[in-house]
C-alpha cells in the first residue's frame, strides 16, 4: 500500500482475559502480547474461543474479567467505534446499498477526512487490492473474492492501529484462498502494521504468521513461531494440531531428565524432558521416523518398535507409510524416495528412530482417539 498507509505497528496486551456466558466459558484466563508490526494468528479447533478473543479486542463483546491494552492504554471500556482498529469479517459485511467506493469512503467520512484526500486514499486502497476501476460497482456485482478484497481495502484505508481478521478467507475456494494468502502477506510486509488473524486452518497459519497462538477450550496452549510449535510442542494437543505425528503412549518410569518408558515391551528413551508425572506421550514427526522390514535392517543405536504396515502411499517425492502400532494406534512415516523398501499393506515391519529425536509430553488424552 502507498506510503500514506504505512506506519509503525501497535502493541496489543491481553491480560488474564475471561469471557463467561450464562452456561459456558468462551475465553478462560487468556494472556497474549502482540508485538508492534507482528503478524499473529489465533489457531484452534471450532469453538476454542478464537472469535470471542478477537471480538473482545475489537470491542464487540464485553469481557468478564481481565484487561486489554492497546499501546499501553486500557481499552476494555472504550466502545468499538473509538478503538481505531480495522476488522475484516468472514462474511465480508460490505454495505449493500453503497458502491465499492462509498464503502471504502465510510471510515474516512467518520474521521472527517477532506474529500480530495478521501479520493486519493480510496484509489490507493483499490489499487493495493487489485480492484482499480471497480469503485462504481455495488457489492452484489462482485465475486466473493472481490468482495473480500473490498472489505480488506475498507478496513485498511483509514490506517487503523491494527488489523483484525476473523477467517477472512473461510468462504473462498482453495485456489483463491492461496492467492489471497500471499496478497495478505505482501500487504502486511508493505504496511508494517500489527495483524491479528484467526483461522482453524494450520497450513494457512504457517504461511502467514510470525507467531501462532494455539487455542483449545478457551485457553491458549502455546504461543510461538511455527518452528517452535512444530519442534517443541508444549502439549500433546499442540503436537497433534501442528502437523502429523506419531505418539507412543506409556507410563513414565524414572521421571526426570533420564526418563524411560516401557512401550509394549520396548524400552523408549529420548531427549531430556521436564517432569512428566504418570502417563507420558512420546511425539515423533513423520520425517524423524524410518521403517524397515526387519529389526536387523535398523542401525544399532536406534529405538525400534514392531509394527504392521497399513498403507504405503507413493507420493512422487517419497513414500508415506501408515502403520499400526502395538497399542492399536496409528503411526505416520515419511521417507525419501531413495529409501524405498517394497513394504506392502499387511506386512510386519519395524519403525525406528534416533533417541536424540522425539519430545516427551504429558499424556493429556484421557480417551484415546487414534
Amino acid at each position: 500500500m502507498s506510503s500514506q498507509l504505512a506506519g509503525a505497528g501497535t502493541r496489543i496486551d491481553i491480560q488474564n482475559v475471561t469471557k463467561r456466558y450464562a452456561k459456558s466459558v468462551a475465553v478462560d484466563d487468556v494472556s497474549l502480547t502482540v508485538e508492534p508490526g507482528e503478524f499473529i494468528t489465533l489457531l484452534g479447533p471450532s469453538g476454542s474461543g478464537k472469535t470471542t478473543t478477537l471480538n473482545l479486542v475489537a470491542g464487540f463483546t464485553d469481557l468478564t474479567s481481565g484487561s486489554i491494552e492497546i499501546d499501553g492504554q486500557r481499552v476494555d471500556n472504550v466502545p468499538a467505534h473509538k478503538r481505531g482498529l480495522g476488522v475484516v469479517f468472514q462474511h465480508y459485511a460490505l454495505f449493500p446499498h453503497m458502491t465499492v467506493a462509498e464503502n471504502i469512503a465510510f471510515p474516512l467520512q467518520q474521521r472527517r477526512t477532506p474529500k480530495a484526500e478521501q479520493k486519493t486514499l480510496i484509489e490507493d486502497a483499490l489499487r493495493t487490492v487489485g480492484l482499480s476501476g471497480y469503485g462504481d460497482r455495488y457489492p452484489r456485482q462482485l465475486s466473493g473474492g472481490q468482495q473480500q478484497r473490498v472489505a480488506f481495502a475498507r478496513a485498511m484505508v483509514f490506517s487503523p492501529r491494527a488489523l483484525l481478521m476473523d477467517e477472512p478467507l473461510g468462504a473462498l475456494d482453495k485456489n483463491l484462498r492461496e492467492k489471497l494468502q500471499l496478497e495478505i502477506k505482501r500487504i502486511h510486509q508493505e504496511v508494517g502494521r500489527t495483524f491479528v488473524f484467526v483461522t482453524h486452518d494450520q497450513e494457512e497459519a504457517l504461511i502467514l504468521s510470525d507467531r501462532i497462538a494455539i487455542f483449545n477450550n478457551g485457553r491458549i496452549e502455546q504461543v510461538g513461531t511455527s518452528a517452535e510449535l512444530y519442534e517443541r510442542p508444549a502439549s500433546l494437543f499442540v503436537a497433534r494440531f501442528m502437523g502429523e505425528s506419531t505418539v507412543f503412549r506409556a507410563p513414565v518410569e524414572a521421571a526426570g531428565p533420564d526418563w524411560s518408558m516401557d512401550f509394549h515391551g520396548t524400552r523408549l528413551r529420548g531427549p531430556a524432558a521436564g517432569q512428566v508425572p504418570g502417563r507420558g506421550a512420546l511425539v515423533l514427526r513423520p520425517e524423524q521416523l524410518r521403517v524397515a522390514p526387519r529389526a536387523g535392517d535398523a542401525p544399532g543405536g536406534a529405538v525400534k518398535v514392531p509394527v504392521k504396515v497399513v498403507q504405503n502411499i507413493y507420493l512422487g517425492s517419497g513414500h508415506k507409510y501408515e502403520l499400526r502400532l502395538p497399542d492399536g494406534s496409528t503411526g505416520i512415516v515419511r521417507t525419501p524416495l531413495a529409501e524405498s523398501n517394497g513394504l506392502r499393506p499387511g506386512d510386519d515391519a519395524v519403525v525406528y528412530w534416533s533417541d536424540r529425536d522425539g519430545v516427551l509430553l504429558e499424556d493429556s488424552d484421557l480417551v484415546s482417539t487414534t
Binding site: 468499538a80 467505534h81 481505531g84 469479517f89 459485511a93
Partner: protein
Amino acid sequence: MKHSVLTRSLLWVYAGLVAFVLIAPTAVVIPLSFTDKASLNFPPAGWSLRWYENFFQDPAWMSAFGNSVLVAVVVAALATAVGTAASVGLQKWTRRRAAKSLQALLLAPIVVPAIILAIGVYAIFLQAQMLGTFAGFVLAHTVLAVPFVVVSVTAALAGFDQRLATAAASLGANRWTTFLKVTLPGILPGVVSGALFAFVTSFDEVVLSIFIKSPYLETLPVKMYASVTRDTDPTIAAAATMIMLLTTVIIAVGLLSMRRRKNV
C-alpha cells in the same frame, strides 16, 4: 404440480367469487357517487358530478378532509418515529422475555376492541381537556398506528444483517450514524410500509374519532358518519370514493417503490 382443466377453472371461479364478496360492497359506492338524484338508491338512474362539486364547495366537507389529511400526516410521522425506535430498542434488549412482553403490550391496540379504547381515551381526554383538539386526535390515532409500524419494522429488522452494524462500528461510526447510514437504509422498505399503514389507519379511523371530536374539529370519517345518519346525501359516496382512491394509490405506490428498491 399439474391440475386438470376442470380443477383449474373451478379454482378460478372460486377465487373470483371470493374477490367479488370482498370488493363488491366497497365498489357499490363508486357508481353511487355519480348519481344525479339526492338519494342513495342503487343502481343510480342517471349520472352527474354534482356530489363531487358539492364536496369541494362545502366548507364543512373540505375542512373535515383537510383535518383528516393533516392529522394522518402528523400521525404517520410520529408513529413511524416512535414505532421504529421501539422496534430497534426491543430487538437490542438482551432480556428477551421482558422485550417480548413489552412488544405484546405495544401491539395491544390492534386486539383491544376500538370501543373500549375509545371509552378510555374519552375519559382521559375529558379530564385533560383534550377533546376536540388537534393534539388529541394525533395522540389517539398514534396509539392505534404504532402497532402497525412496530409489526412491519420488526419484520424488516429480523431480515437485516446485524453484522453490518458491527462492521460500521469497527469503521468508526457511533450508534446514531450506524443507524442512519447502515441500519435505516437496510430496513427502509419496512419503515415506509409502516408509515403508509400508519397514515391509512389514522385517515379512516372512525370509532375513537367520534368520541373525541368536537363541533369545531372533526375528521372526514366522522363527518361521513354524521352525514349518513342525519341526511342521506350522496356527497358521502363521493367522499368515500375519493378516500378509497387515495388509500389505494398510497398503498400501491408504497408497494411499488419497495419492489423497485429490491430489484436495483
